[in-house]
């Protein structure tokens, strides 16, 4: 089951929508569940469905459609680096290569100690700050030069 804290956070989301449109809180509820559990196992998805009175399949559809939901375990730190063209022109691919080399993994892999997962992202709406890396879906880091990446990795305890 989801924690009491997650449940009350989900309630706050439900309150944003008309009383007969609880389903609208689905995206936020999945995000909250993922934050609590680390990733979205089948049980977490079913918990969200129960809270929102939705068919589990309908919640599963949402969870599989949007890229930032993790349906498999990820490392403590999920790093997503943008390699789309505007970022690529300002070092995005260099940053990705540097991360791969430092972590010894490729995209969609997790380090052996379970600490880092590396993902390739699409445009994050921050191309002027390229290279950009998002940490655990919620922290967007700008200007990720090799020095900035070293600093970020050191901060990830």
């Amino acid at each position: 089951m989801l924690s009491q804290e997650s449940l009350s956070r989900i309630d706050r989301e439900i309150a944003k929508y008309p009383a007969d449109q609880k389903q609208s809180a689905c995206m936020a509820a999945l995000r909250i569940a993922q934050e609590e559990k680390g990733w979205l196992a089948k049980e977490a998805i079913e918990d969200v469905a129960a809270v929102l009175e939705m068919a589990p399949m309908a919640v599963y559809e949402v969870a599989t459609f949007y890229n930032m939901y993790d349906l498999h375990p990820v490392g403590t730190y999920k790093l997503t680096v943008c390699t789309n063209l505007p970022c690529q022109l300002s070092g995005g691919v260099h940053a990705a290569d540097y991360l791969k080399q430092k972590l010894g993994i490729d995209f969609n892999q997790t380090t052996a100690d379970g600490k880092f997962t590396l993902k390739e992202g699409e445009c994050m709406g921050a191309c002027g700050d390229a290279p950009v890396v998002i940490v655990n879906n919620v922290r967007l880091k700008s200007f990720m030069t090799p020095e900035a990446i070293d600093k970020l990795l050191a901060e990830c305890k």
Binding site: C123, G125, R139, L140, T145
Partner: protein, 447 residues
């Protein structure tokens, strides 16, 4: 990163970076005066509000450039429940202006939405903010709480009898949700798959109710229209292209960032403001309005002014105002391959021409880039594109095809070279060295 530079700053006037987003700062720079004037000062009717916005010729800043006042006038008057939606999905590669608006001036978006809500008679509004900028979603919620506490939102706003509330909804990684009907599906808690149109959202929108959807920057400009007056706002730009606009300049310039300039400003001026070409290299081409807009070669773009009409005349689109600058170290085949991958990856999978077509397009461009192209591939790309564009439920199909048509129109010889010689015209090392970290970043620009 705040706005870097502006000519006649109006939209961004008085911005103070992270220290200036809150209600107190916004009010200090004249914020919420337009709303007060409309609701309690001049007591404008909804029709008068719409007329002023029409006069300003404020065109939608989300991509299509549709006149905002006209869009608002489509809302049925009698409907008891109507909604207002702001589109901050901002996923079109190259676009990063709405991010700065939400970071440094979220109350301008809120004020613009309240005015719009009054004009179209909405009971509530939602701002759909893409998940990648989650910290700004949280900031927007904080700004909403401030506005609610100050009586700008909720019941009987400023004692006017007008009721309207506003909420934030976040995306979680899907470019397609920028398409307005996919966005509505997403707010309804479903997969973001676009709807058939008609009916348009003004008839059947969120929860089946009439809905107006505008881009973040469009809403942010609304208070300004009333502060300046519609006519003065129009004259800021040029006829049929009212106001100023934020341009997100990325790629091979010295100072990538957002620039506010009046519509009609020469491209050359914008390039100069962005610090000119990185390392003094030669301009090759510019994607002027986000990744979906066809590329314009260097000599043509130098003759363009930055407004809807001039860029359209050059065969492209002003789109979201995302200007992607490419210099001579870019291999156009590789650049197109990366963009085509994006559309393939982001197609929602609902209709066949887009789901299958974007995959085919990518595969063909991929094989050209990797030395396995066939002489007939270029015509095949155009034929395939012709079978996708205009035949899909939403415009993502068109968005995937337009960059290909632009590249083949202006840089076809580069593709032919690839097919014949099985390699890039620009050596790999040169490409890689040309696309490294830029000077502003290396100088330690604020993050």
């Amino acid at each position: 990163m705040a706005i870097i530079d502006a000519i006649n700053a109006t939209l961004t006037a008085g911005w103070k970076g992270d220290a200036g987003w809150n209600l107190k700062e916004y009010e200090a720079r004249g914020g919420y005066q337009s709303l007060k004037r409309i609701l309690t000062g001049d007591k404008l009717t909804p029709d008068q509000v719409i007329a002023e916005v029409k006069l300003s010729v404020l065109r939608g800043r989300g991509g299509a450039g549709f006149p905002t006042g006209l869009k608002w006038s489509f809302m049925p008057k009698a409907a008891p429940v109507k909604y207002l939606v702001c589109n901050t999905d901002e996923g079109e590669p190259g676009t990063f202006k709405d991010r700065d608006l939400l970071a440094y001036d979220p109350h301008s978006v809120i004020e613009g939405m309240i005015i719009a809500g009054y004009a179209v008679g909405a009971v509530a509004g939602y701002n759909y903010i893409h998940g990648e900028i989650f910290e700004l979603y949280e900031r927007f919620e904080a700004a909403l709480a401030e506005a609610r506490a100050a009586g700008y939102l909720g019941q009987n706003i400023l004692g006017s009898g007008f009721n309207f509330d506003l909420f934030a909804h976040h995306g979680w990684g899907a470019y397609i949700c920028g398409e307005e009907s996919a966005l509505l599906e997403s707010i309804e808690g479903k997969k973001g798959q676009p709807r058939y149109k008609p009916p348009f959202p003004a008839s059947v929108g969120l929860y089946g109710k009439p809905t107006t959807i505008n881009n973040t920057e469009t809403f942010a400009a609304v208070p300004l229209v009333f502060r300046m007056g519609g006519q003065a706002y129009l004259e800021l730009g040029k006829p049929n292209n009212g106001g100023s606009k934020l341009f997100s300049v990325s790629g091979h310039v010295n100072k990538p960032g957002n620039y506010e300039v009046p519509l009609g400003t020469p491209f050359a001026k914008l390039l100069e403001m962005a610090g000119g070409m990185r390392n003094g290299r030669k301009l090759k081409g510019v994607i002027p309005g986000g990744s979906s807009s066809p590329v314009i070669p260097a000599d043509m773009i130098m003759d363009c002014t930055m407004d809807y009409d001039s860029i359209a005349k050059a065969g492209s689109m002003l789109g979201s105002g995302a200007v992607i600058v490419m210099d001579e170290t870019v291999c156009m085949v590789q650049a197109l391959e990366r963009l085509s991958w994006f559309y393939y990856e982001e197609s929602c999978g609902q209709c066949t021409p887009c789901r299958e077509g974007t995959g085919w397009l990518y595969k063909i461009i991929h094989r050209i880039e990797h030395g396995e192209g066939r002489p007939e591939d270029l015509d095949l790309l155009l034929e395939l594109g012709g079978n996708i564009a205009g035949r899909t439920i939403c415009a993502l199909g068109d968005a995937a095809v337009m960059p290909i048509q632009g590249m083949l129109k202006h840089f076809r010889s580069e593709f032919e070279y690839h097919i014949e010689h099985k390699k890039c015209l620009v050596p790999r090392e040169v490409q890689k060295a040309g696309s490294t970290f830029h000077t502003r970043m290396m100088a330690g620009a604020a993050c």
